[in-house]
């Protein structure tokens, strides 16, 4: 009671901010270590210490791009993440739209059946068999299709809830104007779905970019490897040179980091869409 209310509040605020800053530090320290060590020479980076580099070794990045074949793996990651995201966003939005608009018995079941996919784990053995039968194993098309397929359940779930928010009167007006189903969807509905599709797309893109499992199983040819698999392999070869490994990590993470900082609004809103509804 010695402290008056105002100082008490100020103290509490300071304490809370200190705790939050501490939590942020725990996040930032590992990131800082990687960035700092990517600029050291091999001897300086041996212990991944927090010390600042004695001189800046920007040439690490050139070395890594060359020896880690980062130009190639960046292209691969970009190709897989972009194509699979586009395919799954379009297919999922078409499906979610019809399933949500026409809630027939069959469609309700189909929706439930597809969203079940969120819980199903993969069976890599039989999936290999299917990839062989469809001649998709060890191909870039194959991995793209596979990624698109894995994203479909969550994307349909996310978009489905959003379709209800679009007034049906729009559909009716468009039909009276003579729109067919394709025109109605792609010209009238799809533009209105863009916000949720961007959210689904950003989440898919980041998920695919960061994935390591599917290429590990289904891409033997190192020319097809995405950045995640390549960085792991690079680490295997250059374990002693943490400066190079760090530089490789920085370049691998940079694209997702940029997307995160630009699209955090969409990422954070997408996560909460499912949670708050319930």
């Amino acid at each position: 009671m010695l402290l008056n209310n105002k100082t008490n509040k100020l103290l509490q605020g300071t304490r809370n901010n200190l705790i939050a800053i501490f939590a942020c530090l725990l996040v930032v320290i590992p990131v800082y270590l990687v960035v700092v060590n990517s600029l050291k020479d091999s001897a300086g980076a041996r212990t991944m210490s927090a010390a600042l580099p004695q001189s800046l070794h920007f040439e690490n990045f050139n070395t890594v791009i060359e020896r880690g074949k980062l130009a190639q793996t960046f292209q691969n990651s970009m190709l897989y993440a972009t194509s699979a995201t586009v395919i799954s966003s379009i297919l999922a939005s078409m499906a979610a739209y019809v399933l949500s608009r026409n809630k027939s018995r069959l469609n309700r079941f189909v929706y439930f059946f597809v969203v079940m996919g969120i819980a199903m784990p993969m069976n890599f053995f039989t999936l290999t068999k299917i990839m062989q039968l469809t001649h998709l194993i060890n191909t870039q098309v194959g991995i793209i299709i596979l990624y698109a397929a894995t994203q479909i359940p969550f994307n349909i779930f996310l978009i489905y809830g959003f379709v209800d928010a679009i007034p049906r009167e729009l559909d009716e007006a468009a039909i009276i104007d003579g729109c067919g189903p394709y025109r109605l969807f792609f010209w009238v509905i799809f533009p209105l779905l863009v916000p949720v599709i961007v959210t689904a797309g950003v989440l898919s893109f980041v998920g695919i970019w960061n994935d390591f499992l599917l290429p590990l199983y289904y891409l033997n040819n190192s020319a097809y490897w995405p950045m995640t698999l390549a960085v792991y392999n690079f680490f295997g070869q250059f374990q002693q040179d943490w400066n190079l490994v760090s530089a490789d990590i920085v370049l691998t993470v940079l694209p997702v980091l940029i997307i995160y900082l630009l699209g955090q609004r969409f990422i954070l809103s997408g996560l909460t869409a499912g949670a708050v509804k319930g």
């Binding site: 996040v27 784990p121 890599f124 053995f125 359940p153 792991y232 691998t252 909460t272």
Partner: protein, 291 residues
């Protein structure tokens, strides 16, 4: 009329990909679990329950893998929920101006590739040269410096710790959204009634947060049961089999070409998660109008 405006064939593209690459392998896998399928022979013979006997026999390590998986899942569910909730409460009620910035920073590890997080922590947790032990030594707490990933007694806990570091931001953000749906008036009413801070948390926040807490638990469970990258990169399942989980064991069977046992092990997880998923998804897809 409806079927004409909203034609079923719009769903077929998504449905085809989903059935062929997600559903079919799962069910086919259950069928193949009863065979001696392997890489070295083109013949596939029916062997009844042999693979399951192998998995559930005490002579093999599979039960340990399943136990490790359950341990990993329950610990990460607990830690992420507790820390996620504390952080969410802190950011929602405790700090004002910088709340958004804190949120962006704490969420950051979620978007980093697991493989990269694993590599970095392998260096940080290195017993001799790692940052963590160096830090403990420099502040005079040598006793705390441990062989984090190579001591079988604590390796799993270290993996759980790193996984919590990576995933807690995700949970925090969902709980934060849950907190924001609780109307301010409820707290004011409780305060007028003389409820203490703890009582307000216990009788206002917690009950109203149940939906968000359920979602969070489900997400953590689904993730925890199929964890792979984190374990694979940090310890590779070692030392010995101390941190092997179902999906690292599956990968091992895959590399050795023992498809029959591997697919049986996958199928155990498939059946458990599909049954659990059935109830979870029924909740998720419930029509808000009916509820």
């Amino acid at each position: 009329m409806r079927n004409k405006i909203y034609p079923f064939y719009f769903t077929l593209g998504a449905l085809a990909l989903y059935i062929v690459f997600v559903v079919l392998p799962g069910f086919l896998g259950v069928a193949y679990s009863f065979t001696d399928w392997n890489r070295y022979s083109t013949e596939v013979n029916f062997v009844g329950l042999d693979n399951f006997k192998t998995i559930f026999s005490s002579g093999e390590n599979y039960l340990d893998y399943i136990q490790n998986t359950l341990f990993f899942a329950s610990c990460t569910i607990f830690l992420k929920t507790v820390f996620g909730l504390l952080l969410a409460i802190l950011l929602n009620y405790g700090v004002r101006r910088l709340s958004h910035l804190y949120r962006v920073v704490i969420y950051l590890p979620v978007v980093l590739p697991t493989i990269v997080v694993g590599l970095v922590f392998r260096s940080i947790l290195n017993p001799r040269t790692g940052f963590l032990n160096e830090f403990f030594r420099s502040i005079g707490l040598e006793a705390l410096a441990q062989p984090w990933l190579t001591n079988p007694d604590i390796a799993m806990l270290s993996v759980i710790g790193v996984d919590t570091w990576k995933g807690v931001g995700y949970i925090m953000v969902i709980l934060l959204a849950g907190l924001q749906t609780i109307p301010e008036e409820y707290y004011e009413a409780a305060e007028i009634d003389g409820a203490s801070a703890f009582a307000r948390f216990r009788f206002v926040t917690l009950p109203l947060l149940v939906p968000a807490l359920t979602v969070v638990t489900v997400l953590n469970l689904l993730y925890g049961l199929r964890v792979f990258d984190m374990v694979y990169v940090l310890t590779g399942g070692g030392p010995g089999y101390a941190t092997d989980v179902v999906f690292t064991a599956v990968f091992d069977e895959f590399s050795k070409g023992r498809y029959g046992v591997g697919t049986a092990l996958s199928s155990v997880l498939f059946i458990v998660m599909t049954v659990a998923g059935f109830f979870i998804v029924r909740q998720l897809t419930r029509d808000p109008v009916e509820a």
